[in-house]
Symmetry: C2
């Protein structure tokens, strides 16, 4: 077994979910991730916790068969709920042998199934949970990389000194958390301002998401003004949307365009009122993620980028008394900040061309 | 997908476990059995039941990793117990990519783990459960067959008209259930008598075991007299024992021998007092099982054989007021009855050279 798999398992157990003796653990994984599941079992045995392995989320071929055979009426399965109610630690390993396995399931069937499983999802989110990635060949294919290069990419991004990451990212949290106005400028097409006054900035250092590597907050919904060109591609419902352009007035999208699949972008924005407002501002700080791989677990943490999501704001980012943007969607879009770009906070430049003011090489 | 896999899935659902809308189902399977798991999901979706897939029993590589890392103190995991307590139907699919995967786990560790999981096993047995087999290459290898020949073998034995089997076997149940004395004679070495008075004969027609294909009961423990040569091999704890010879007086083994691995046989018989007595008499009636495959799920149902187990008697076979043989073990051993053999019940020949008296070709 590649020693990086055991390292990955130890980071999940010891850093991300803080595994303890007696913990009841659920690992959900596709068989292509077997090596990581086995390495996790070594750690779980060593610690004295209790593993159960399922393939509810990741066994897409069986899920497709089930959903295509079912009518659209689902109930919340009492046995699956009972399992997760007694679970302390939930580890979901993304990996697939075909990332388009559910492409011929009717979206309304999937939606009805997810709706019925919402209480199970809520219970998962109340455990010490972690979502991570195993570098399976099909995931490498989605990233347009060889399997070996993708393995290097994933394990470089995941197997890090996360305490050091927390400390490094903490410098950006200290700037953003007490701030009022944020301005994002990039090239000719992006000049956007927003208020984050009263909202909280979260330091994502590899706990719920592994890899981590971003700091994120929410704008005050009505405060967003200006225009932005998301020059990194967006992969939504199995389709790519490129060069998304959004123009905001009083926090709401008043004009939009895209180079490819603009109709899909329009559909997202028309979901509900909240889908035309920004629910998240994130700053990618994981420089081991140095290329786009059509996988938001990685893409949004890419070094020298910022991302914004139209739609729902995360609870933990919204300060007491502030409005929380509500929507059925949360769709992240990414701006490359590595060239001809600045982030200003309360009138002061805090990042120029990807370099933060607390880093070497920053030019005032 | 081979159409025989869908047929297998439909027999499990519609015959073995009588699947109903709203049933909470657990399928435990190794990934090599994925096709059958997918086919079961089609049926489960169609019926409107709720599937959860686990690999607790069959994920031997992860189990080995866990058990080797653990100390020998285990608790009953509350989440695994909660899952099975809310489960209506439990389907275990035997299949492996290496049947010797746990050969380097210490037996005392496995025993301690199984002891802690006993409440979970008890809950499984209170569901509508089925144990079946998927013909994976490693299982074919154990059977010393090509994968294709083994697929044919498994699906011939499994995909049958089980209502017709029940009716055919019912004729033997009608003979054995009210009987007193049973005599098994084969060749020069086997001449054994026992009483089954007051005990019940069970018709195994593919419910808990798929394939089914036997009728079985328990002898009155002290009644077994004579000698028996089990001329089919026995596979116990990963080792083969051949030509087991047992001599009984007053129901207890007073002499024993084996051609190969006699020490292992001695160990079995020395487990406890009950291990020297017979707990089961079974008559194999599935003639599609026409060869020995080192898999008791099949071997004990082989046509033209009888099997006896030293050790524990099954609850359902012991009549009210009769003694139930108790032991920590239940080890089945098989006699070939196809030549120079008779089964007599209360002094009447009911099978000669494998042919029952209710079948064509029977010679009085």
């Amino acid at each position: 077994m590649d020693p990086r798999i055991r390292e990955h398992a130890e980071i999940i157990a010891n850093h991300s979910v803080d595994l303890q003796a007696g913990d009841n653990v659920v690992i959900d994984a596709h068989p292509v991730a077997e090596d990581l599941v086995v390495a996790l079992h070594e750690v779980i045995g060593d610690v004295g916790a209790n593993p159960v392995t399922t393939s509810q989320r990741t066994g897409k071929r069986q899920q497709r068969a089930y959903l295509r055979a079912a009518d659209d009426e689902f109930e919340t399965p009492a046995h699956e709920l009972a399992l997760i109610e007694e679970t302390d630690v939930y580890i979901a390993i993304r990996a697939s042998d075909n990332v388009t396995q559910t492409s011929d399931v009717a979206p309304e069937t999937s939606a009805a199934y997810q709706q019925a499983h919402r209480p199970i999802l809520d219970e998962r989110l109340s455990t010490r949970w972690c979502l991570t990635q195993y570098p399976a060949p099909a995931n490498a294919q989605l990233a347009e990389m060889s399997t070996e290069a993708y393995e290097n990419f994933v394990w470089d991004a995941v197997n890090k000194d996360w305490a050091a990451v927390r400390e490094h990212q903490g410098q950006m949290v200290e700037i953003l958390d007490p701030a009022d106005e944020v301005r994002i400028e990039s090239g000719d097409a992006t000049d956007l301002t927003m208020s984050v006054a009263g909202n909280r900035t979260i330091n994502d250092h590899g706990e719920h998401n592994l890899p981590g590597g971003e700091v994120f907050t929410a704008p005050v919904p009505d405060s967003v003004e200006g225009e932005v060109l998301f020059d990194m591609p967006l992969y939504h419902q199995g389709r790519e949307i490129t060069d998304v352009y959004l123009e905001f007035e009083d926090g709401t999208v008043v004009d939009h365009a895209a180079e490819k699949n603009e109709d899909l972008l329009t559909e997202v924005l028309n979901t509900d009122d909240g889908a035309r407002r920004i629910g998240e501002l994130g700053i990618g700080m994981n420089r081991d993620i140095d290329q786009f791989t059509y996988n938001m677990l990685f893409d949004e943490k890419m070094g020298d980028t910022v991302h914004m999501a139209v739609g729902r704001a995360y609870d933990e980012t919204v300060g007491e008394g502030n409005e929380q943007n509500d929507s059925a969607v949360h769709v992240d879009m990414i701006v490359d900040m590595s060239e001809d770009s600045v982030i200003e906070v309360d009138g002061e430049v805090v990042q120029r061309d990807g370099t933060f003011r607390f880093e070497d090489g920053f030019e005032e």
